[in-house]
């Protein structure tokens, strides 16, 4: 699939700060929730990756946001989550973005609500997860991970016009000859987002 992001009709961005509630068993990760806590976490190989949401800014892309994009042709859904990785929770000093590209040609999902309850198999080809590492930009397009992405909750926030809570779990592995091997596991995210159309 050719990744064309020239025109994006809809962007979904986080709107406020995160509330980190530790997982009761492994406090390096946020507890899985469906409340719009604006947090995410996983392990990348043996290191911790955490995201505690902040206000999104186009001027500062190195932020811990979650962004969902639906392409104009409705063939692809992208989910990007920015966070920090480190050897332990007190040394989360490397900005790393996780991206999920979902082949939407068959499912034809058009709204956030339709994501709820879906499990997307990341085959490592048409649908995939990838690690966008500030230390290793060359992997941006070529290293596609296989695994799964569960969108467990995706629903409008009552009494709001354009706010949604989206939560899920994920895992994937990058294992290609030209790529650094990466194993992303125990992933979870929970964001409160608002719709913000972007076009260019």
């Amino acid at each position: 699939m050719k990744l064309t992001w020239a025109i994006i009709i809809l962007g979904v961005l986080t709107s406020c700060g995160g509330e980190f509630i530790p997982d009761p068993l492994d406090p390096r990760l946020p507890r899985y929730s469906e409340e719009g806590k604006n947090t995410a976490g996983c392990f990348i190989n043996s290191e911790v990756w955490q995201a505690i949401g902040e206000a999104y800014s186009l001027a500062n892309s190195r932020n811990q946001y979650l962004q969902i994009t639906f392409t104009t042709d409705n063939n692809t859904i992208g989910i990007n989550i920015g966070g920090y990785q480190g050897k332990s929770v007190d040394s989360l000093n490397t900005y790393v973005e996780l991206a999920f590209i979902i082949d939407n040609r068959d499912t034809k999902i058009q709204s956030i609500n339709e994501l709820e309850g879906r499990t997307f198999v990341l085959d490592g080809d048409q649908s995939f997860g990838r690690i966008i590492d500030s230390r290793d930009f060359f992997q941006y397009d070529i290293c596609r991970g296989a695994g799964q992405l569960h969108i467990r909750y995706a629903s409008a926030v009552p009494d709001t016009n354009d706010e949604y809570i989206i939560a899920g779990t994920f895992s994937f592995s990058v294992d290609q000859p030209t790529c650094r091997t990466a194993d992303v596991r125990s992933g979870r995210f929970d964001y409160r987002v608002n719709i913000s159309p972007i076009s260019n």
Binding site: I21, L25, R28, S186, G187
Partner: protein
């Protein structure tokens, strides 16, 4: 929590008319038993204090029932990759017990602590993260105690509390992101050392 307060008042009002009244407090060292928690568990220091009411009718010697109103702060430290994750749990509850006084200055007691959580706080390394919602609202602990009268009206005591209820009830997620079912884990184990002052001599002067 409201139920506990009302239950305490209900129990203490009639007891207060013929009871020995005491105030107590001290330090608590606690840890947890665990099955699923990641990392090494280390003990956490805390404190406790409360008011005790014990039946003082000599006709029922050497067994004296009593009840305590107690606030306790304990918790545990979870060490992972040399980083300490500190959990502080604050409870308020009632502790009915049966005291046995075989000797003039020595006594033991056995009872339960039924408490409601006031607050659970979490610190990660040097960073104070704040309040967590991970712990169940109530706890039940079996308590045993040995007490020695240093001099009237001061006693020193050693108390062991054995949590009977799992404090964490959690739908765990495996490495692939699948829910693996509800997990119950984390029971408190605590040893307390403290001083108890019999308030009767002070109250009689009022």
């Amino acid at each position: 929590m409201q139920l506990l307060v009302w239950l305490s008042i209900f129990l203490l009002l009639p007891l207060g008319t013929f009871a020995q009244f005491s105030a107590y407090g001290g330090i608590t060292a606690s840890t947890v038993s665990k099955e699923y928690l990641v990392g090494d568990i280390q003990p956490q220091m805390g404190y406790h204090f409360g008011l005790g009411f014990q039946v003082s009718d000599s006709s029922i010697a050497p067994f004296y029932p009593g009840i305590r109103l107690e606030a306790v702060r304990n918790g545990y430290i979870q060490e992972i990759e040399s980083v300490q994750h500190v959990i502080r749990l604050s409870y308020f509850g009632i502790a009915p017990y049966l005291n046995y006084t075989p000797l003039e200055r020595w006594s033991t007691s056995l009872g339960v602590f039924i408490g409601g959580i006031i607050q659970a706080r979490y610190r990660q390394g040097a960073q104070n993260i704040g309040v967590t919602e991970n712990y169940r609202e109530s706890d039940i602990r079996l308590q045993g105690e040995i007490e020695w009268q240093v001099y009237e009206p001061v006693n020193i005591y050693l108390n062991y509390a054995h949590g009977l209820r799992d404090l964490v009830k959690y739908a765990d997620i495996d490495e692939s992101g699948n829910f693996t079912g509800t997990i119950r884990d984390v029971k408190i184990r605590a040893i307390s050392l403290g001083l108890r002052v019999n308030m009767a001599p002070f109250l009689s002067k009022l």
